[in-house]
Structures are given as structure tokens and as C-alpha cells.
């Protein structure tokens, strides 16, 4: 298998080393001359000291006969362009992009990148297993910290999903006043039926938080939170 790796940071460096050890043919492109020389000293003459975003150098690196192009630079825009050029200009059968901003995953997939690896998403996934991150979000404190504005993001498992506002048991001293759905804010009416993904904005006294959590998020609020 001939793999073209673009980006000689830590990921590109170790990826290249592992692939060589596994017996694959590898070329690494790194535009920083100093870094390229340093890698070449360590793992041999598989390094091309040029920008993998430039069509001219991709061709020199043999992109037109690569089985896989892996774009692993630290910049999402560079990784996208490398994969698109490889796919559409050089007919590379398989492209892999590292994505740093998880929000870019959808765009990359839509634009034809075959495999997307998001370290941010993977680490986030590990953290979420241990710590519930879908808690109530405190947006602002009002008055002498007696009242606060809270956002609750309704996710799978929330008892409020599919129920109308009027059917929720909202604690005394607390009021839900708006819902953000698909980026659009709308007032909450008694007959508004809540959906997964909704963000509900509430104003309430600090002590209402536990009850609000139970109604909108699900499990009771963590004690040590």
C-alpha cells in the first residue's frame, strides 16, 4: 500500500514511522524545511520538504498513484483542501482528514472526504463517559445573585421531550420563557411541545435548580456538582 502523509507534526511523524514498520510505502510531506530535515535525519529519505496543498508538489510526491492520502496537519482548512485535491485532481481512492474543530466533521464528509478523525471528539467522548456535561448551563445572575438565567439542553433521556410545557411540573419561583430550536428563539407557550435538541431558557431562584434539573435533564442533579 502506498500512503501519502501530509503534515509532519507529531501525528504525521509517528504515523509515518508506524506505517514504514508495518511494511508500507510511505511519503511524508512537510512544508517547514527545518522540520522536514529533522524527520529525514531520523527516518530516512521519505520526506518531501514542500507544501502538500500545492498541486505541483502533490504530483511530485506521487499523489496520482497513492492508495491513501492522510492529511494530518494542525489546520482544518489545509486538511480539507489536501483531501479534495487528492480526490478530485489525482483520483486518490481513499482520503483521510484530521479534523480539529468537531463542527467541521459534517462539512468534510459532505464535501467527499472518506474518513474523518477528530481527536477533539474522541477526547470529548472519553470525558463524557465520566462526567455528565449535559448539565444546566448558567448564563447570568440577576439581582443579588438570588435569580439566575439558566439554559437546559434537552437531550435523549430528558423526561420533558414530547411533553407540552403545561404538563411539566415547574417549581414555584421559576419560569421557563423561551426555547431555542434550530438556532431560532421563540417564546414558550403552554402548548409548546418540547423536542430533543431544544434549548430551554429559564429564570429562577437558585434553589429551584434541583427540581428544574429533574424536569428538564432527567437524573437528579449531582450532589457534588
Amino acid at each position: 500500500m502506498f500512503v501519502l502523509v501530509v503534515g509532519g507534526g507529531k501525528v504525521g511523524y509517528y504515523l509515518t514511522r508506524e506505517l514504514i514498520e508495518a511494511g508500507h510505502e510511505v511519503v511524508l510531506m512537510e512544508k517547514d524545511r527545518g522540520r522536514a530535515d529533522q524527520i529525514a535525519d531520523e527516518i530516512g529519505s521519505v520526506v518531501i520538504p514542500h507544501d502538500g496543498c500545492e498541486g505541483k508538489y502533490l504530483k511530485e510526491a506521487g499523489a496520482n498513484r497513492a492508495d491513501i492520502v492522510a492529511a494530518v496537519t494542525g489546520d482544518d482548512e489545509d486538511n480539507l483542501v489536501i483531501c479534495q485535491m487528492a480526490k478530485h485532481h489525482f483520483d486518490v481512492p481513499r482520503t483521510i482528514a484530521r479534523v480539529n474543530n468537531p463542527k467541521n466533521e459534517g462539512l468534510f464528509r459532505h464535501l467527499g472526504v472518506d474518513d474523518i478523525v477528530s481527536p477533539t471528539r474522541m477526547i470529548l467522548g472519553s470525558i463524557e463517559q465520566d462526567i455528565p456535561v449535559h448539565e444546566l448551563l448558567h448564563l447570568a445572575a440577576l439581582g443579588d445573585n438570588e435569580l439566575e438565567i439558566i439554559e437546559a439542553h434537552l437531550q435523549e433521556g430528558s423526561p420533558a421531550i414530547g411533553r407540552a410545557m403545561r404538563d411539566l411540573r415547574i417549581p414555584e419561583g421559576c419560569s421557563l420563557f423561551a426555547v431555542i430550536r434550530d438556532g431560532v428563539a421563540a417564546p414558550l407557550r403552554p402548548d409548546t411541545v418540547l423536542q430533543e435538541g431544544d434549548k430551554v431558557i429559564a429564570i429562577g431562584r437558585t434553589e429551584c435548580e434541583g427540581a428544574l434539573h429533574e424536569q428538564l435533564i432527567g437524573e437528579p442533579a449531582s450532589v457534588d456538582g
Partner: protein
Amino acid sequence: MKTVIVGCGRVGAGLADVLDRAGHEVTIIDRTTTAFDRLPSTFGGTAVRGDGTDEDVLRRAGAEGADLFLALTEGDNRNIMAAQLAVEAFGARRTIAKVNDPVRAEAYGHLGIATLCRTTLMMSAVLEGFGLADGLGPGLIEARPHAHGHEGEAGSDAPASTTAPGAPAGAAPGAREG
């Protein structure tokens, strides 16, 4: 006309000023606030600090349904990605990305993004201006229809090295790299 410009350099700031004075609704985005010093004090549009390749920043800048979206930063790839976001995520009507590498400028024209190539533009100006040779075209490559996910068709419209704007796809057989 609702216009969003990414990159407040000389060209970005200049266009923002002209379009603003012509009565258009202009928003300009840059990663550094000092870049906005290039705008005249009379500028009546909106300046947004942020990364033009970040979907949230573009949404905040009102890219949704923009009539014209211009990606004019110093980074070819940043411009390409911003333009693709504008088209795919926000349905911008007309989008132009400044791409100074002629190979990429040509390639993205075929991928449905109109590109403006300073390299081609300036080479043409010199060659034609001094009567040295025929120019290379205006540097603006129009977007050609492209359906994503039809990789099998990519071979039929491989980019040519120098194709006049508007030339039909696939009109230059044998120009394919490699």
C-alpha cells in the same frame, strides 16, 4: 444586496467601503481587530472579529442567505473552506474565493467554487500591458456545476492547466495531471 467579506486586507477593506457607499448591506470579518483600521471612519457596515472558516462566526456575521460572499484572506485554503461553508451550509447565492495558486484556482472552479487568482491576473496584466504575449485570462474562474459524491465523474472534467473561463468541462483532454 447582502454582502459578507472575509478578510479585511487592502482588497477586502476597499471593496467593503465601495459596496457600503453604493448602499449595500456589508459585513466584514477578520481575525484581528487592527485589520479594521483599514476601513474608513465613514464605513457604515458591520465588522466582526473571528475566524472566517468557523461556522458559528459566519452565522453570527449573517452569512445565511447572503447575496454575495467574498473570501479574500491571505490564505488560499482558508478562502476555499470559507467559500465552501458559505455555499454548503448557508446557501450563499454568489461566492468568490481568492486562490493565488493557479492549480488550486482551476481545480476549485471545477468543484463549484468561483475563484479569483491574483497570480494569473497580474501575469496577464504584465503580458498584455506591455504587449509581450497573449494574456492568461482575467484570473476569474467561474464556478462550474459539480455534484458532490460523484467521484466517478471526476475523470471526465479533469482541470486543464490554462483554460479560458467558461470553457466547457472536459474540453481539454490529456491535460490531466500524471
